[in-house]
Symmetry: C2
Subunit: 328 residues, 2 copies
């Protein structure tokens, strides 16, 4: 059933351009006029031509593939991110090679494919990286960009929200509301996001003479629901709870509701991320909106410029405090 | 900074096996003993050897890549699926080339990469396919498997839950509870999942002399919340609402709560999928659990057997009715 496969020469002839123009149209990042591009794509479409990316990748070392490694497939925050990366990279001529890691730390075996396929760059969202894996990728000239986190021990690009500043602003809001008995529920404690949110929050309050209670969460609804429940059993009802992400805050919110504690009248609840369901009426969660579109754009820009051999850089962005019905 | 790259010959020498054994270890689906595999992988690890998948792909036509196209990145159901596919395919030696489509129907441009990279198979979850795209893939000998849906006009493998049977069982439960005033909220009306769930549900009730009211949803929380709100304004409080998926049922549930209607005392609510948050105490949604792990396994098996040139097949699976707090 296989049809005759058209060649780049057929396309060049039909579009009335040179073969090298055809080749540039199908090479990510290559310079070509919009007009020529349109003519070539139309001719290619009509002829059913497809360039062989594998052959091109072997010759030009430009495979047009970007590796994306993710861990917390349960957190809606990262789903939105994945969709955005896929779409924006495609528009720039790249395709996503996706790896979900089930381990706390990315294993060599899991990213072997990134090496085998000569990806042009690797984006890592929430999974942890050992310096061994980073060295292995760098030895193969594959740049890595960390999304939504940084690791001072690793020589990588990083794009993240200024979590310290954001959580200071949240703390200052609660202080202005007269809250004194304040709880922070951590995320995974080995992540920069959780550490920085805790640091900004507690240091601001400490300066005002307030010691926030720290409950250990792990960025899951279940853990947060559990630790909030336990806390309420053994302590006074707190004035406010700040969860290290929205899922954490939603777990706390449900535990409060389950104990018939009125939000926000008795306790204020604030999350972080502004995932879509934070806006659902059943939650109406006040939260910090990360500028995710800008973060994704910056990540792609950094990665492509690293592909062009610049030095690793860190990009820090801000965001916005969104007040819904769990703040006053 | 680039290190000397080790060759397959170096690995063969170190592992004391033939070069062809080394090659088989790194070729998906090739036969090799566990003992030889262990020796080769250990030697490869020590030498930092990585096979060049692009070169291998050109020669053997086995690229070890599987294309996965997805649309509804907002539905948590598909996140769980994506993680599962990535993990299970990796364990069988394949990597996922991921495409998120923002359009209702997959565009040629969006899957061009699947063709360029010679993926060994394509899995399509919720995005729609034109027969033109299917023909294009088949012309290139790339088999397609539809996950969680079927399309009788397309010649593809399909793996899906028996939605008609499941929704009949839900209808029979409601009938046994004495419900008469019953609402069905559709998903996207051009999907087989929504059509079949509606068909099974309404045909069972029709047989019992009950005409279910049909509200048009689109598998989003927002639309379902809106149509339920409108319905309640203009009609009696229904005895039961069945949403075409969990997100739809959660939108209806919140609209009911917002109108101070007691669930399940006044109205029963049932969803479909059993996404993780259906079990959260704030929702405690009764729902139909699709056997997703089995569905993912069957999809991979079908795809790999199609790669080995069998004929397209359809696999229909069942699932389980999960009772939480929105049923009596």
């Amino acid at each position: 059933m296989t049809k005759k496969i058209s060649s780049a020469m057929d396309v060049a002839k039909k579009a009335n351009v040179s073969q090298s123009t055809v080749s540039r149209v199908f090479t990510p990042g290559a310079s070509v006029s919009e007009k020529a591009k349109r003519k070539v794509l139309q001719a290619a479409e009509e002829l059913g031509y497809r360039p062989n990316a594998l052959a091109r990748g072997l010759i030009t070392k430009k495979t047009g593939m970007v590796g994306l490694a993710m861990k917390d497939i349960q957190n809606p925050f990262y789903h939105e991110i994945l969709g955005m990366f896929s779409e924006k990279l495609r528009k720039r001529g790249y395709t996503v090679l996706f790896v979900y890691t089930e381990n706390e730390e990315i294993q060599q075996e899991e990213i072997n494919h990134f090496l085998e396929y000569n990806v042009e760059g690797v984006i890592v969202t929430d999974a942890l990286l050992s310096s061994k894996v980073v060295t292995r990728l760098h030895d193969n000239n594959i740049p890595i960009t960390l999304f939504n986190r940084y690791d001072k021990h690793l020589s990588c690009n990083s794009v993240y929200c200024d979590n310290i500043r954001a959580s200071k602003e949240i703390a200052s809001y609660l202080y202005a509301q007269g809250c004194e008995d304040i709880v922070f529920i951590t995320g995974k404690i080995n992540t920069s996001t959780s550490r920085d949110r805790q640091l900004g929050f507690t240091s601001y309050l400490k300066n005002k003479g307030i010691d926030a209670a720290i409950l250990e969460g792990d960025y899951t609804y279940e853990k947060s629901y559990h630790v909030t429940n336990e806390y309420i059993k053994n302590n006074r009802i707190p004035d406010a709870i700040f969860g290290a992400n929205d899922i954490t805050a939603l777990g706390a919110l449900d535990a409060l509701k389950n104990n018939h504690i009125q939000v926000p009248q008795e306790t204020i609840v604030i999350g972080f991320d502004d995932i879509k369901m934070a806006s659902w009426p059943s939650h109406a969660l006040s939260t910090w909106a990360q500028p995710i579109e800008q973060m994704v754009n910056e990540t792609i820009d950094l990665m492509l410029s690293e592909i062009n051999r610049s030095k690793p850089r860190k990009v820090t962005l801000n965001g916005t405090f969104i007040h819904r019905k769990t703040t006053r």
